[in-house]
Symmetry: C2
Subunit: 120 residues, 2 copies
Amino acid sequence: MERIPILRVGELLLVTIQVDMHDRLVMRLQDDLTESIVANRSKGVLIDISALDIVDSFIGRMINNTAAMARVLDAQTVVVGMQPAVAITLVELGLSLQGVQTALNVEKGMALLAKRTSRK
Amino acid sequence: MERIPILRVGELLLVTIQVDMHDRLVMRLQDDLTESIVANRSKGVLIDISALDIVDSFIGRMINNTAAMARVLDAQTVVVGMQPAVAITLVELGLSLQGVQTALNVEKGMALLAKRTSRK
């Protein structure tokens, strides 16, 4: 199970982070995601982190970098399902996810992406 | 990360299996899922197993039981993203997932659930 699945939901891509991330897994996810964005001409990526109880600077940077990659491919990233403790840790680590949109849950994230991509 | 997130996507619930399942995790998933079905009045559950390279009879029974629980709560279950090797193994194990619908990917699963729930 050395791969994080990327699910196509309508025009969006949905990634659920459930497992401990390590370098190789992150690189594979970023490879798969950028390929999926191009193949499906996706305009939006939802990253669900509701399963994460704790984060460290590695995960924070991973999310930042993945969003930056999506952005240069003209797709917007919304991080959803962040737990309160994770928000506290991210800010305390100095990673305030600038340039990354967040939403409470998948539904709200989809609505946000639909609004933002239709406005463009 | 001892919890499998259940994502609400429109009227459906989406569960992505990415980690090795064990008894406690399965029980927690079934608890969470049945509660979510009731709380959201969901008519459909999508279980994505595209991250699973291998299955054993434990996972096969888990899927069967979870679908049966959803059914008695008036929700239909569709298993999506099954890899070819997994299909072979399931049949060889004698677990042909009777009573469980399958679809190639999340999109097709959603379409199937939309058709089936509107017909009722």
